[in-house]
């Protein structure tokens, strides 16, 4: 099994620092209640947690996409390379090298698959040749996309759209990628593959990842460090390897009991919920 967690010795600089932020939607709905996290350069940091824990919101706070959802950061600070990030145009954030792959794909429906990928290169100033090379690279990662390059993205299957979204982000040659649920709706083979790609990009090109993921199992296998979010607060954090061994994480996030993996059939009458905070 691939195990990236033993590369914890990278004592890299902190690229992204989220400091005790609070996010409110619509002026009334308080969603993040003081979230802090650090993303070291060149690392893969995972953000774990159940539904509605606030993972997406955290990522959007970083990429400054909250604004268009009528959300705002009311407290705390977000710094990228020591520079304060909020109040910056989202496009500016991308130009700084931080790009987000949004949850739920968000492809440009009316554009073809290839045009979608090309929009990823919008902020790039380097020549056509480089962009073309990267396009080929994306196609080599996702051969399925090459087959469908001329189809309108709106008509591709859910998984294909997920690949488009990933590929589009790669096309911008980012320094940091915020990945929101990359594995959602992907076939198991592809999940492995995508994480493989994440890992190789991370290792070969030094791209930093902040990864929100439900699939804790895979995420902890590839990430270096993990934060567990619940109801808008960070309830636990630590190196991925440690988290994997934590009994609570094991039980609630990995679905393991002492006897190994539980069958989904067996949980029927069994039910217990543990929450660190409620």
């Amino acid at each position: 099994m691939l195990d990236a967690a033993n590369t914890t010795d990278v004592q890299a600089e902190t690229l992204l620092e989220v400091n005790n932020i609070e996010v409110i939607y619509n002026h009334v709905i308080l969603v993040l209640k003081g979230v802090s996290l650090k993303v070291p350069k060149g690392g893969i940091t995972a953000l774990l947690g159940g539904n509605g824990a606030g993972k997406t919101t955290t990522l959007k706070a970083v990429s400054n996409l909250l604004h268009s959802e009528r959300g705002e950061v009311t407290k705390g600070s977000i710094k990228y390379r020591g520079e304060v990030m909020h109040d910056q145009d989202p496009a500016e954030v991308v130009r700084k090298g931080v790009i987000q792959v949004m949850e739920g794909r968000h492809c440009f429906e009316h554009l073809t698959v290839e045009e979608n990928l090309m929009t990823g290169a919008y902020t790039r100033a380097d020549g056509k040749g480089d962009i073309q090379r990267d396009l080929e690279m994306v196609y080599s990662y996702f051969p399925r996309l090459k087959e469908r390059r001329k189809s309108q993205a709106g008509y591709t299957s859910g998984g294909e759209q997920q690949m488009v979204a990933m590929g589009r982000a790669l096309m911008s040659r980012p320094e940091t990628i915020l990945l929101d649920e990359p594995s959602m709706g992907l076939a198991p083979q592809l999940v492995e593959q995508i994480f493989g790609i994440v890992k190789s990009i991370n290792e070969n090109e030094g791209v930093t990842f902040l990864l929100a993921e439900q699939n804790t199992n895979v995420a902890l296998r590839f990430a270096h460090y993990g934060y567990i979010l619940e109801s808008g607060r960070v309830v636990m954090d630590g190196p991925a390897a440690e988290l994997r061994e934590n009994p609570d994480v094991k039980e609630f996030y990995l679905g393991m009991s002492d006897e190994g993996r539980k069958s989904f059939r067996d949980v029927r009458s069994y039910r217990r919920r543990k929450r660190w905070l409620s």
């Binding site: 939607y25 709905i29 774990l48 947690g49 159940g50 539904n51 509605g52 824990a53 949850e103 739920g104 399925r144 469908r148 189809s151 008509y155 591709t156 299957s157 859910g158 998984g159 294909e160 997920q162 690949m163 649920e181 959602m184 709706g185 992907l186 076939a187 198991p188 083979q189 592809l190 999940v191 492995e192 439900q214 699939n215 804790t216 199992n217 609630f252 996030y253 990995l254 679905g255 993996r261 539980k262 069958s263 989904f264 059939r265 949980v267 029927r268 039910r271 919920r273």
Partner: protein, 272 residues
């Protein structure tokens, strides 16, 4: 393969009945893209039937064919033994087929309660006039259906968000509300398109429990698409495997798991 006429008995002792829905040589094309190529399979009364396959294999399209949203160019759909004439999707729904969607298709502008109530359209019969005056029949009907819906809401444990607009809900809860909406219709056949995508293990466990309970308590037949092999292997009675629009496998989870074609096309490594 278990293909005795009158059904079979599962390992845990449930009785599976005869064929309720049969797809015969379905072919579906979109312009040049062939989404489904000559596929046949059946769904039996009371079973949990999984459809799996790589992305873009045509699984969702298959559900859409069953729902009547896509009309296949070739092939036939037999429902309860009879060939189904071409129908509008809402007529299909009236026959007792309910479903959830891969990209959540809730009515964002409505509360959870209202969303679930729309699931009961089949049971709403009063006329416009009576509703406009909100007296007598209309009010009674509303109350009766509300009771039924509340049962579903209780069952899925979403009481606390009853009045919340769905737009505000996190992904996982939305999926659950969608299931509630489908269940409210008290369907005989329930189609689920990736009901557990985007959930963590704990939530998947919850969802599995709901699915099993529905199947158990109401005897609802379930067809489900899912990428989590654990879930598929544990829950389903029989599995169809699709790849590039073709059927490459059909059988019990164990049979499928050990099918080399399936391993090559989909699973990658053999899953335990």
């Amino acid at each position: 393969m278990k293909d005795m006429e009158e059904g079979y008995v599962t390992e845990d002792g449930r009785k599976i009945g005869g064929v309720v829905m049969e797809m015969k040589n379905i072919t579906l094309r979109f312009g040049g893209v062939v989404a489904i190529k000559d596929i046949s399979f059946d769904i039996r009364q009371g079973e949990i039937r999984a459809i799996i396959g790589p992305n873009g294999a045509g699984k969702s399209s298959m559900l859409n064919v069953i729902s009547g949203f896509y009309v296949p160019q070739e092939g036939q759909v037999l429902y309860q033994g009879k060939p189904r004439p071409q129908m509008r999707p809402y007529e299909v729904a009236r026959q007792g087929i309910a479903r959830t969607f891969q990209n959540i298709a809730l009515f964002e502008g409505m509360s959870v309660l209202d969303n679930v109530m729309t699931g009961r359209l089949n049971y709403m019969k009063t006329g416009l006039l009576s509703q406009a005056l909100w007296k007598g029949k209309a009010e009674k009907e509303e109350t009766e259906n509300r009771e039924a819906v509340e049962k579903v809401i209780d069952f899925l444990e979403i009481q606390h968000i009853r009045k919340t607009p769905v737009a505000r809900l996190p992904y996982g809860l939305k999926k659950r509300v969608e299931l509630a909406r489908a269940l409210a219709a008290e369907p005989s056949l329930l189609l689920l398109d990736e009901p557990m995508a985007g959930m963590n293990v704990e939530e998947k466990e919850d969802m599995s429990r709901f699915i099993l309970d529905v199947n158990d308590e109401f005897g609802t037949t379930i067809a489900l698409i899912e990428h989590d092999m654990g879930v598929v292997m544990d829950l389903s009675d029989r599995v169809v495997v699709m790849d590039y629009g073709k059927k490459i496998g059909d059988g019990t989870p164990d049979e499928v798991r050990n099918n080399q074609d399936v391993i090559d096309a989909y699973l990658g490594v053999a899953h335990d």
